[in-house]
């Protein structure tokens, strides 16, 4: 999902750059206020851990492989603000040292993978954590949240590519979101396995009540504003006129037949269910069905990973 140089236009690069700087500034402010000093070196070493973990590839259907992103994993282990800082550091080093992800796209990459993935995953994690108790609850919530984080980040990425006119939205969305709905399953699986291993060996590292696991009102408002602006700039313009407006243009210009090519064989083609009038509602419904399915899988995974004896402990 690392966007290289040359894919984003100046407008998009500048807008994502401003959003990324604002988001990271909020995260640094939260870290300064909430992270205990003894965890400062952990921030750096955990960033190195995320970088190393991103190099562990896992098989994805169809002969390709994906790798961990680690946003939710870092957020559960370090707290959301520290996770944003750690993921940003990983992306900066990948960009400056390895050329993985462009410099002009650094803002977009930080926004998608450090901010949207981490916070977009941590929000459902906290929500589910309130409902599901114990070690099983943590693992189920983290697995589902990891899947959400990858899907959200890929949608943001598709929106930026489409806003730059590098890729058409009706090619970018199915390709990016579709592939990442599968990669997200691997992300959820690894996150669950790692948290299971940590819970077994060092349960003291997983404390939901330590101060850095929550955000102050400044963090909440700051991150909320950054995410809302990003959504308004890069996703909303496409989601509302799509597909009616775009299809009309496509027909006018005579390339409507291209949109019909399925790029990926999906059980729910084009994310639209037959028999429902509004395409937007059908897309939302298809997404919701997919999410519920993954939630059920996550709960099943947690039952497999955590033995019944351990699950009874509070």
């Amino acid at each position: 999902m690392h966007v290289p140089d040359g894919f984003l236009d100046a407008r998009t690069a500048a807008a994502t750059g401003v959003l990324a700087v604002a988001g990271v500034a909020v995260a640094l402010d939260q870290v300064r206020r909430r992270l205990p000093p003894r965890k400062v070196p952990l921030l750096g070493v955990a960033a190195a851990f995320v970088f190393a973990a991103q190099m562990l590839n896992f098989p994805v259907a169809g002969g390709t492989s994906g790798h961990l992103l680690g946003g939710v994993l870092a957020a559960v282990l370090l707290g959301p603000a520290a996770a944003v800082v750690a993921l940003t550091a990983v992306l900066v080093v990948q960009c400056l040292l390895f050329g993985d992800g462009g410099v002009t796209a650094l803002g977009a990459n930080v926004f998608n993978m450090a901010i949207v993935a981490t916070l977009g995953g941590y929000a459902p994690y906290r929500l589910l954590r309130g409902m599901l108790r114990g070690d099983r609850g943590r693992i189920a919530a983290a697995a589902f949240a990891s899947w959400c984080s990858i899907v959200f980040a890929s949608i943001a990425c598709a929106g930026e590519l489409a806003a730059s006119r590098a890729v058409a939205w009706n090619a970018a969305l199915p390709a990016m979101a579709g592939v990442h709905m599968i990669i997200g399953l691997g992300e959820g699986m690894i996150t669950a396995l790692v948290l299971g291993a940590v819970a077994a060996a060092r349960p003291d590292l997983l404390d939901d009540r330590s101060p850095e696991t929550s955000l102050g009102w400044r963090g909440f408002l700051g991150f909320g504003a950054v995410l809302a602006l990003g959504l308004a700039l890069f996703v909303a313009p496409f989601a509302s006129p799509w597909p009616d407006g775009l299809e009309r243009v496509a027909e006018m210009l005579g390339f409507a037949h291209r949109a019909g090519d399925p790029h990926l064989a999906a059980p729910i083609p084009d994310y639209a269910l037959p028999g429902i009038g509004s395409p937007a509602a059908a897309t939302a419904l298809a997404g919701a069905i997919g999410a519920l399915l993954v939630l059920a899988l996550s709960i099943g995974l947690a039952r497999v990973l955590v033995p019944a004896s351990a699950a009874r402990k509070p």
């Binding site: 952990l42 921030l43 973990a53 550091a89 462009g102 890729v167 690894i190 060996a201 060092r202």
Partner: protein, 203 residues
């Protein structure tokens, strides 16, 4: 190729190595911005940029093999996203444009990384008043990345020495166990680093 060989390459000596890191970073960024963000230009313009880049690479006295391997490692990712641009009207032109821009920008950044030690880049960021906690995070990340990667290699070697057969299910478990164990070792390492920092009068 060892991952940390870049550190040795970046500490080498050559005409580009001797330019102060701040100026080099500024020049590289300016070049990438011009290549990646300006409106589509004449193809000859990109050929000129490629010639300039090639000239700089040859003058830098960095082994062309090192640069080429690094380029080929990342190029598939550029190609992977660029392919999506074919699915639109005039897709081939957009594809070629994006590929040229992406590859040239990548070349500029790789040349910068190969001629500038990371510590010097951090120094530039520090002078730009990037918050110190972020600089510390970057420095620790760079310092311990290769340590952790060697830790992964040691764990893999230990596993390979002990197991004969493996199944797909075991692979997932194993991946999770390696990553989980790596996190615990990282945490313990961070605890030792903190003790060492305190012992040396940090804060």
């Amino acid at each position: 190729m060892r991952l940390d060989s870049l550190e040795a390459v970046s500490r080498g000596d050559g005409p580009l190595h001797r330019i102060p890191a701040g100026r080099k970073l500024a020049a590289a960024l300016a070049l990438v911005v011009v290549i990646a963000l300006t409106p589509p230009a004449d193809p000859r313009w990109y050929a000129a940029a490629a010639a300039l880049l090639l000239g700089l690479a040859l003058a830098s006295r960095v082994s062309p093999r090192v640069l080429l391997i690094r380029l080929l490692l990342v190029e598939p990712f550029v190609l992977g996203i660029a392919v999506l641009s074919l699915f639109q009207p005039d897709g081939l032109r957009v594809f070629a444009l994006i590929l040229a821009r992406g590859t040239l920008s990548l070349g500029v950044m790789l040349l910068l990384a190969a001629t500038t030690p990371f510590a010097d880049l951090l120094d530039v960021l520090r002078r730009l008043r990037i918050p110190s906690i972020f600089i510390t995070t970057l420095a620790l990340l760079y310092r311990y990345l290769f340590v952790l990667l060697e830790e992964v290699q040691r764990m893999r070697r230990a596993r390979a020495a002990r197991t004969f057969a493996r199944s797909r299910r075991l692979d997932w478990r194993l991946l999770g166990d390696v990553a989980g164990r790596l996190f615990i070792r990282s945490t313990e390492r961070a605890e030792r680093i903190y003790a060492a920092m305190l012992a040396r009068g940090w804060r």
